[in-house]
Structure formats: C-alpha cells, structure tokens
C-alpha cells in the first residue's frame, strides 16, 4: 500500500519490484546518518560559540605560591596594580582558593589533600573587547613584582579549539555530502533496474503515445513515496539516538563541556530531512527515466 496517494493511475507495477522493498530501509539509514551529521555539526557550532563567548576577551594570570602568606599577598597586590593600570584591562580580580580547588576536582577528585597542596594564585582578567594586549610586555612587568608569574591567553587555545571544531564540522559536511551522493546513486540505479524490469510496459505506453514525462512521473512519484517513507523511518530511529546522547552528555561534568544549544533552524533541518530525501528521490528518478527514454525513437 502506498504511503502517499496520488491522483494518478499507476500503469507501471513498481510496487512489486525488489527495489521497493529495500529502498525505504536504505533511505532510512541514510536519513539516520544525515540527521546525526546535522546534529553533530550543530553541536560543534554550539560548543565553539559557547567557548568563544566564555573566554574571549579574558585571560588568566598565575602567580606561583611564595614562601609565606604575606609574600603571596604582596605579589598578588603588585600584579593586580600592574593589571589594573593597563588600558586594555577592564577588570582584574583574584580567584578564591575554594573556586580554584573546585576547578581541579574533575581531575584530582574531591580530596582533602588539595587543602594542603600549594596551589598557584589565579587572577581573572577581563579585557576591553577587541583590544590587543602585548602579552610579553605585561608578563615582564609582572615578573618584576612576582617572579614566575605567567599569563594564560585563552585566545591561543581557543583558536586551536575553534579550528578543531571547524575541522570536525567540515568532516560532518563531507559525510553529509557522501550520504547525499550515495542516496542519489542508489535511487538512480534502482530506477534504472525498474526501467529494465518493466521495459515491455514502458514500450507499450510509449507506442500508444505517452509523453516521456507521463512515464517519468510514475517512477518519480514512486521514488518520492519510498523516500518519504524511509526518511520518516530514519528520523524516528534518530530520535532515541539523540535522547541517548543527550543523557550521556549530561552525565559528563559541566566543567569540561559547555551546555549545548541547538537552534530552531537546525532542528527544522533535521525534521525536514525526510522531505529532502523524498524530493531527492523524486528528482533523481525523474532524471534517470527521462535520460533513458530519450534514447527511444
């Protein structure tokens, strides 16, 4: 039984072809993979945007622990003075030790040993947006009051992360393109097989005056039907997969991975995949039939 009912008679009995049985499953698998690729791309975009928002225009200064609390405080105050005097710095605030300990917990565990461990003092610095800082000059100045002080410019590792996420994004696009090409190829050859199986019927239709488009429409509507059926099946399978990934993602500590925000447009793209698969099937089958019929007299 057809999923879609067109107001046309089906002169070519395509419903009983072997391709009719396996094509929806194949399209379902392709749509499933495509949905994963689209969501993976969306996640990459979301994560890199979060990272960028979170750490751009900020840097962190580390002051190594000294021999005494008094020395530590003098060094921190000296560094803060230099930082606050810099024109690019909007805010420079020391990070409380308890917060530093909580940042280390994902790696070192919730151990009391951290309480007695000499940890570097961290200063969180916010910069004016878009303003460049000569890092080396600033570090040199800070080292005069706090030897061994270092500056962690987040933009360096952020650039690397963004490059990595962009590479993964392109990888997802390539996978998506391969899926599209494989789907087009499959529909094309299934259609060609259908043409060969039903050559007699097509010849009769041709000889009684059917336009090529009349014959092509029958194959195209059949492929549209199968594409939509397979697409919805693939989408239905992708739903639980997304839910599973989301559950696993939530189990990972939020200090390591930011929250993911997939936009409405990206969800619309995923939801539209069955329609894209159906349209692709329709056009591919139509082109395949018209190209073949053009060889007839």
């Amino acid at each position: 039984m057809s999923f879609l009912s067109f107001n046309h008679h089906k002169d070519v009995p395509l419903d009983k072809d072997p391709g009719t049985r396996f094509l929806p499953w194949l399209i379902a698998f392709m749509v499933y993979l495509a949905a994963l690729s689209v969501v993976a791309t969306a996640i990459m975009q979301s994560v890199s945007a979060r990272w960028e928002r979170g750490v751009s225009d900020t840097l962190t200064v580390q002051v190594p622990p000294g021999d005494s609390v008094k020395q530590d405080q003098a060094q921190i105050e000296g560094v803060l003075k230099i930082l606050r005097a810099h024109p690019a710095v909007v805010l420079a605030e020391p990070i409380a030790r308890t917060h530093v300990v909580s940042l280390l917990e994902p790696w070192l565990g919730n151990s009391r040993a951290l309480d007695n461990m000499p940890l570097p003092h961290l200063i969180d610095v916010s910069l004016r947006s878009g303003m460049d800082v000569d890092g080396q000059q600033l570090v040199d100045a800070m080292n005069k009051v706090a030897p061994g002080a270092t500056m962690d410019d987040h933009r360096i590792w952020l650039d690397r992360l963004i490059r990595m996420s962009q590479t993964l994004e392109w990888g997802a696009y390539i996978v998506l393109s391969l899926i599209v090409l494989a789907s087009i190829g499959t529909v094309f050859f299934v259609t060609k097989t259908g043409l060969a199986i039903h050559q007699d019927v097509i010849e009769v239709l041709h000889l009684i005056g059917a336009q090529d488009t009349y014959i092509a429409r029958q194959f195209a509507e059949h492929a549209l039907n199968l594409g939509l059926r397979g697409g919805l099946l693939g989408l239905a399978a992708a739903g639980p997969t997304f839910a599973g990934f989301a559950y696993l993602y939530r189990q990972i500590d939020s200090a390591l991975l930011p929250d993911i925000d997939i936009g409405l447009w990206q969800w619309a793209t995923v939801m539209g995949l069955p329609i894209v698969a159906a349209a692709m099937g329709y056009l591919t089958a139509r082109v395949a039939v018209l190209r073949t019929l053009r060889k007839m007299v």
């Binding site: 009995p13 239709l205 009684i208 005056g209």
Partner: protein
C-alpha cells in the same frame, strides 16, 4: 488527405541486411488495406515504421502530413495517439484489468476519468466483454484477448489503425466478425492497414493489398472473391 507516405524507405536492424528496400507507398484517408506476404517478408517491420517504433535507415516517412525525420521528439507522442495498434502478440498489460488495459490510451491522453469509464464500458460491451471488465488478460481466452487488444487500439477513435495479424489465432468465424468490426471503424473514417496470412479473408473482404516480399513492397488491387460473405454486423461480438 494522405495519412501515410513512404518514399524510398529502407530499414535494417543493426549491421544486418536490409529487411525493407526502397519501399514507397501512399495511404489515403479512409483506405483499408490488407498487408500480405510470406512470414519474414517484413510485414511487421513495415507496420513498426508506420507506428513509429523504428526510424528508417533511409528514405522519408510522412504521417498525417508530418515528415517524421524533421518532427521533434516531443511532437511524436501526439502523432502516436492518432494511431491505434493491434500488436501481433497483443501486448496487453497483465498487471491491469481488462478495463484498465482498454482505458490506457485515454489515460495517456489525459481524458477525464468520468469519460473514460463511459467510453470503455460502452466499447467493452460492444465487443462482448462487459462481464470481463475486471478480469486480468491472462485469464481470458485468445479470442477475448484479441478483442481487448482491438478495443485498446480503437478506444480513442484513431485516424490510422494498424493491426498486425489480429486474426492470427482465432477461428474463422471470429476472424470474420473482427473484420466486420474493422470495416465499421473504416466507415467511420479510420484508415486501416491489417497484416494477415489469411488469404481467405483477403478474398472475402476484397480490400486492396500491400504485398511485401523479400523486403520489397507493391500496392495491388483486391483479390476478387468468389462471393462476398453474407455475415452482418451484430450488436456485439461473442
């Protein structure tokens, strides 16, 4: 008006010998011709040229005044829709009912479904197959299949009807009745070419002949019968 005109037409399949050589013939509107000749002489090939299943390897073919060589491919279906064909092996579509087989040329011509139902039912009643409208062709007898094939060929009232041995596997009585049906269509203006081996029918019905032998064609007058059969057309054929 000239319906079909062939000028010095030749046809060969692939690199084989010419199956038709220097064929020139003209069919006027309303003509009825028997196409005769021994098996393998090229009767079916000549009909295939006329219903545009093949292009000639040389020469000119004109159908309803259109030169086929210069007619665009998109225009050919419109010409084909004016030609009814009864194929030698009927070529009925087994996955369809008798009704749908006969309706096919109308559906291809995009006729409204209500009109299709009316005309197909009328025609199938006329050829005595009203009770077999939903039967698949494979369940019909040879004679019934022949009538379905004929009904499919004439449902759109074609200007030219080409019948390739339509009486090939029916008894003489039914053959005569089918000939009467063709004559009725001919009276309504359809030009008819009917390939046959049945010399008795050719003599009985006395239409002009297109004789084909060894790929060459000659238009000849009717074979004179000893007498014209006294069979009258009835309401339907059984």
């Amino acid at each position: 008006m000239v319906i079909v005109k062939l000028e010095n037409v030749g046809l060969r399949y692939g690199v084989g010998p010419e199956v038709l050589r220097d064929v020139s013939l003209t069919l006027e509107e309303g003509a009825f011709h028997f196409l005769t000749g021994p098996s393998g002489a090229g009767k079916s090939s000549l009909l295939k040229l006329m219903y545009l299943a093949h292009r000639p390897t040389r020469g000119l073919i004109s159908l309803f005044g259109s030169d086929i060589a210069t007619t665009g491919r998109d225009t050919l279906p419109a010409l084909r829709r004016q030609v009814g064909v009864v194929f030698q092996e009927f070529r009925l579509l087994d996955h369809m009912s008798t009704f749908d087989n006969v309706a096919l040329p109308m559906r291809v011509a995009n006729v409204h479904e209500k009109d299709i139902r009316k005309h197909v039912t009328e025609l199938l009643t006329w050829v005595g197959l009203k009770d077999h409208m939903s039967a698949r062709p494979s369940t019909l007898s040879g004679g019934q299949q022949q009538r379905v094939a004929l009904a499919r060929a004439v449902i759109t009232r074609p200007r030219l009807l080409l019948a390739d041995e339509p009486t090939g596997n029916v008894d003489d009585k039914l053959a005569v009745r089918l000939l009467h049906l063709l004559e009725e269509l001919n009276k309504l203006g359809t030009t008819i070419v009917m390939a046959t081996h049945n010399e008795g029918l050719v003599r009985q019905f006395g239409h002009p002949r297109i004789c084909i032998e060894d790929g060459r064609v000659e238009q000849m007058g009717p074979l004179r019968p000893a007498h014209r059969p006294n069979v009258r057309m009835e309401g339907k054929i059984r």
